[in-house]
Symmetry: C2
Subunit: 481 residues, 2 copies
């Protein structure tokens, strides 16, 4: 007999004869009521066991975590909290779960404990909800771009280029540490490595993505990216998923419009598709914040915050305006910032971004036109700036509670300007010959951005540590599973 | 003025005043007709330049590969082959393309030359079509699983486990080759590496995927996987994308049903969405095969072959039956096979798979119930087999022209049997403690498979070298771009 998913049983419009459900026992009360979950929904279905006619041996094996198969009738529930329940006629234990040993007991576990059990934490309500929301958000990303005719491009993970400049890279190699092949000069002989050259894990697919945008018009990537940086924070992972759209003929304004429309679309999509998971996560956050002082609690509940992003335009502010606001801000004057903003040209720290977003504007903010010398080589130099105050067509989108969620720019489309910039920064033109070809042959204005997928999941789920929104987090000192 | 995509112009239902199009010149004929392409479709739009009123200087710059912006009127075309064309009123050169230097001239290039210019080959008709088809196929994958309620899981790329056993692994490290930290015994001290242990690039997300299936019920992965194997063939890549669904409570029959339904869905999806690209690729294949002897040409044209897969069930054949067929086959008797099949237990080579699929059954074939000792440790041992003839619930799907496209199995759900198998093979139980937990706590029958995405793209596009269906191929000795 084919089993029916718990979600479909709970959404049934009638009672049903002879159904089978399979799943895992969340709790077993009064030797009678199984709360059964199969991962198809956050909701359990109540299974009422005929305990008088069930052997004690079997009843004892109905423990939290056990896999069971129940056959019976879907009837209207007498109890509160559910429309239907299963009147069990036949029960089979598929896989036992020793109550003494199963780590996911029906009680509150610390997030740290759950991280150490990342292979089992997804059996809890919270992590089931997070992983379903993450999945639906990923599909929202593809749906948005595909419906607009963007081409999904799988840029390479192993890269022979180390000029991307977005951060420290991991080495990928098939060479041994012992008796490493050496050149006559005693250097490591990467010609003998698998790819015949030194290779790393990608920090961004942007440069390769640009070559495709200059042929297909609108493209996006969505794949893993890596940073070998020793950042042990709640916002950084060594391995994370990034979304990078790139559009030919888009200028920076178009780029901002795209980013804003995209973020609003995917948030709306997940609110439509995952109302129960989000409601649960809203409750979880409220509960978590009860232990915090009033001042540190969120001003809005989760769904209210998501709606706020849908209903309000992101505030667009130039770097220069932002510096003025920060210079005149109370924390700057009272020297409460760790890094005091004195003059134009200063790089913004997380504390400044948070002030702008959370205290000053109280909404998502797009900062644009940053000083050229604090941004990457490929960003479009603005025309007509004062000497010493050159700016580039960069944009960062800042979100409350998250900080930077998007970084993007209009790209420098002028071959000569780009080469000059690379020379000034010591970036090897030979190595990026293929990138420069996009400017040699049929160059045009184009723009794109990168969005860290886990930061988006953080925002949508109301979680606060990025390790809790990816299945198996990779961080300094940790690559378990 | 906002530009309109070429695809939308060609699909217009009326003529239009004042439109703007942007794209790249494919050809320029008679100083008058630009074939303009912007990647939104394989079709170019013809732009008719008023050459009498256009300066010679500008006309000279309209070269293959140049980026241009044309403003004018969308009118019914007088010429054959297109419904509409643009009567150009204003033309702007956005980016020149030196006709002497641009590698993608409007002539036939070898596939090898195009691989060396992977950043530009996507500006050709064939590679534009391939990359659009690849993108739509990827979306078909997500759409299929999401509509069925599967949860997309991003299993880790960097793995601390080397027990997956699917192939040779690449090392991921932040340690230097010079002055590598060493333990007192002189071994490499991986405790000092980024993750505090030895790490590799994943060869499969299956084991992690199983832990999620045993909580969420139905899951799938779709991400990059790696093999550090020196296989310089037209069917192997060092970096490729794999799709791995895993379903709790599915047995091997359910697994076969899922794989077949899935493949038919995605092929139908791409046929519906990409008719023009596929028609072009069908023509390309016919053209390519003209140079081959009759016997080596495909029996069916591309679309016919795709329809054949949609309309016919895959033939399900046990390994034991397959061995009988092969043993009695003409090439085996005449010793035409490189590896002669003498007895039950032999591992099947590519030549045997091709014989079964292309000569004997002439349709996709699912082989199942393989000898236990030629398959992976996690596959479910069949009950009631003869001693010495133990089989496992494995399945491989073989496609004409491609060979193995899917490998899957029902998993060994019995803790004791699994541990015994691991011991026999010397696989460290300690290292896979988390995998074994799925069998310790609430184990159940479950099954899954892996599908190499590029092999699917090969089949659908009719290309014959796997390096031509991924944007930037990684193979032994090659990691350019």
């Amino acid at each position: 007999m084919k089993h029916t998913k718990v979600k479909d049983l709970l959404n049934s419009t009638t009672t049903l004869q002879e159904i089978n459900a399979k799943g895992w026992v969340r709790t077993f009360r009064n030797n009678q009521f199984i709360a059964l979950n199969d991962g198809s929904t956050i909701n359990n279905i109540q299974c009422v066991v005929d305990f008088e006619n069930t052997p004690d041996e079997t009843l004892k094996r109905i423990t939290t975590g056990a896999a069971v198969s129940v056959t019976g009738t879907l009837v209207e529930s007498q109890g509160a909290g559910q429309k239907y329940e299963i009147q069990v006629k036949q029960l089979e234990i598929l896989g036992d779960s020793d109550a003494e040993k199963f780590p996911m007991q029906p009680k509150k576990h610390s997030l740290e404990f759950l991280r150490e059990n990342a292979h089992l934490r997804v059996r809890t309500n919270a992590f089931g909800a997070i992983m379903r929301v993450r999945s639906v958000l990923a599909h929202a990303v593809h749906t948005y771009f595909q419906e607009k005719g963007f081409v999904y491009v799988n840029t390479p993970i192993i890269t022979g280029s180390d000029a991307e400049g977005a951060g420290e890279m991991f080495k990928v190699t098939a060479l041994p540490f012992d008796n490493t092949p050496r050149t006559e000069e005693g250097k490591v002989d990467y010609k003998k490595d698998f790819f015949g050259k030194e290779t790393n894990l990608t920090v961004s697919g942007q440069l390769e993505g640009e070559t495709f945008a200059m042929a297909l018009g609108q493209i996006y990537t969505f794949g893993p990216t890596f940073r070998a940086e020793n950042s042990n924070t709640s916002r950084h992972l060594a391995e994370f998923w990034m979304i990078e759209p790139e559009v030919a003929f888009n200028d920076l304004e178009d780029n901002m419009d795209l980013a804003e429309d995209f973020i609003q679309f995917v948030i709306k999509y997940v609110m439509d598709k995952c109302p129960e998971d989000l409601k649960f996560l809203e409750g979880r956050l409220l509960e978590e914040e009860k232990s915090k002082p009033q001042a540190e609690r969120s001003e809005m509940a989760l769904l209210e915050k998501l709606n706020f992003v849908l209903e309000n335009n992101f505030k667009r502010v130039s770097y220069t305006e932002a510096i003025d606001i920060l210079r005149n801000s109370t924390p700057n004057k009272k020297k409460k910032f760790q890094y005091i903003i004195n003059e134009w040209g200063a790089d913004l720290q997380s504390e400044h971004e948070r002030y702008l977003v959370e205290k000053h504007f109280k909404c998502p903010v797009i900062l644009f036109d940053y000083p050229a010398n604090i941004k990457a080589f490929y960003m479009r130099l603005n025309d007509n700036t004062e000497p010493g105050k050159e700016t580039v067509r960069a944009m960062d989108i800042l979100f409350p509670g998250i900080g930077e969620i998007v970084g993007g720019s209009q790209r420098e489309e002028r071959f000569d300007v780009l080469v000059e910039k690379m020379k000034a920064l010591g970036i090897d033109e030979e190595e990026l010959w293929w990138y420069l070809d996009t400017r040699r042959f049929g160059s045009a204005v184009h723009s794109g951005f990168g969005l860290g997928f886990e930061r988006l999941v953080l925002f949508v789920t109301g979680m606060t540590n990025i390790r809790d929104v990816i299945p198996f987090p990779r961080t300094p000192g940790s690559a378990e599973f």
